[in-house]
Amino acid sequence: MSMNILSIPTHFKGSFGRQKHVRKALERVMHGIFFFFGIVAVGFVLLISAYLIFSGLPAIREIGLRNFLFGTVWKSTAAQPEFGILPFLLTSVYGTAGAMLVGVPVGFMTAMFLSKVAPRPLAAIVRPAVDLLAGIPSVVYGLIGMIVLVPTIRSVFDLSDGACLLAAILVLAIMILPSIVSVSETALNAVPKEYEDASLALGATEIETYFRVSAPAAKSGIAAAIVLGIGRAIGEAMAILMVAGNVANMPTLFSSVTFLTTAIAKEMSYSSGLQRQALFSIALVLFLFIMLINIGLNLLLKRGKEG
């Protein structure tokens, strides 16, 4: 291929006009190829969105948007089936918020430790360990959660069964740690050293400097880390399918709950008819939900940057 391109000028010696023409054509072809691969990704997004909308709407139309979104009972295979996904929606919101509540402080502190406090050799051990967390498949988190965490919660809180929202929150919190730690650490590392030097010169202690100067200076990066964490937590299915109990209860900390994601994953394999269509509707709701959250957080971030 490359040989051919190089040999073009010798073939058309003397006729520069044609040579230019050929090269231009080649340029255009290459443009076309790059454009094609460029829009493949966009195409998939559009295709998936369109598919979700087309397959998700019929069930919503049949059930009624109000009954679907605000119904509190999900009995997809009962004689009188009911398709209310409010328990799933609330569980997804509570679960993600809970995971943030646990994961963000831990992740932020870890990032602070790695970036500012830890002696270099120690950081060299902790950092790869945190990165390794990101490489563990979610089904492994679920398995360990099911075998270790669920029985532990059961005995610690003296419950009849440990599969509950709390177990899911703890698993999610651990799963979002690596993204929160690495993105916040990068942001903290990027804080100009002069800021910290100035703070120290004014008599602030090191810890005061880190929390009062470095952290605010890195705030947009830390916010990005949180957004990333939310995105991962709300879309996770496999790990929480194994620890959350999966009953369509209204969420409380110790009740067996179903997330939007696990509602789909749980029933998909044997579903049929309206039940299957309703699962697609849940997928549509989840999709819109994640888009809304992302758009909202991006707006928030932008405003934070401007202000």
């Binding site: 009995k75 295979t77 099911m146 029985p151 599969a163 109990g245 999966n246 067996s256």
Partner: protein
């Protein structure tokens, strides 16, 4: 340059061919049965129970291997839909994981293909080892909520079940008459998940297909009967259901469909049915 390239291409093609040839050889050598009756051709359509998916899938595979001219289709739509489909002539054979009702028997004939036993499992630490069918119903509907009420420790009963739409759940709930009224604490989407959850909670009770149960949990006797292939087959173990084939009464099947019907109800199919987790009756 060009030569080298074509040589490389040729080599890789040969390697690919070798791979494919390997596949062919393996398939041929592992299967002992030689294709017979290749003269048959046509399509056999089956439609019905999702619970029978494993059994029918395995049977179809073997049948289609032996009769390369026949295509057997299987629509996992549910027992009710399958029976309707065969009654309306949209399928050759209807599959149902329940017996035919009297009005359905007016036009259809049922043949029991296999039986499916559902084991009731508890944690190995649970002192309870026998429950009556009524007690099981009361446990799963929440009437009995403490193990001490059935001779166990003073602890709350934790019900572990399958997800809505699962054939095992459907079977269990229809036999124990607890449909839509089970007070589950956990709904899991696999038999392995149910067994694992029961293993990890000393107060748990769950149900699982008889063929999948292992020693990590305790299998209860129901009304004094231990679930085994034998007690399921002779009907003394109560928590079981029939896998039936429904055909139109007084109508002959096509040659291909008849051959398929004969094969899956023959003694040759029993090993396949057992391997797929059900109890053959032939």
């Amino acid at each position: 340059m060009m030569k080298k390239k074509s040589l490389a291409l040729l080599c890789s093609l040969m390697l690919c061919a070798g791979l494919l040839a390997g596949c062919g050889n393996n398939a041929a050598s592992t299967s002992s049965a030689s294709p017979s009756g290749a003269a048959l051709s046509g399509t056999v359509s089956t439609n019905g129970s999702t619970s029978m998916e494993k059994v029918i899938g395995a049977l179809n595979e073997t049948f289609m291997y032996n009769h390369s001219g026949v295509t057997v289709t299987y629509d996992p739509t549910g027992s009710g839909t399958g029976i309707t489909a065969v009654a309306e002539g949209r399928a050759d054979i209807g599959l149902a994981s329940r017996d035919l009702k009297d009005d359905e028997k007016a036009t259809l004939t049922q043949t029991v293909l296999a039986k499916d036993g559902i084991a009731i499992i508890v944690n190995t630490q649970n002192p309870v080892s026998d429950l009556s069918l009524e007690q099981i119903t009361e446990l799963f509907t929440g009437v009995i909520s403490n193990w001490s009420q059935v001779g166990g420790a003073d602890a709350q009963v934790v019900l572990i079940g399958r997800e809505a739409g699962s054939g095992t759940r459907d079977g269990f709930e229809s036999i124990t008459e607890t449909k839509d009224s089970c007070q589950y604490k956990q709904e899991l989407n696999s038999t392995g998940g149910v067994i694992e959850a029961v293993k990890n909670n000393p107060d748990a009770i769950g149900y699982a297909s008889l063929a999948s149960v292992n020693d990590s949990v305790k299998t209860l006797t129901v009304g004094g009967v231990t679930p085994t292939a034998g007690t399921v087959k002779d009907g003394t173990y109560k928590i079981q259901r029939d896998f039936i084939l429904a055909t139109r009464t007084g109508e002959t099947l096509s040659d291909a469909a008849q051959a398929y019907f004969d094969f899956i109800t023959s003694a040759d199919a029993t090993d396949i049915i057992t391997a797929a987790g059900a109890v053959p009756v032939a």
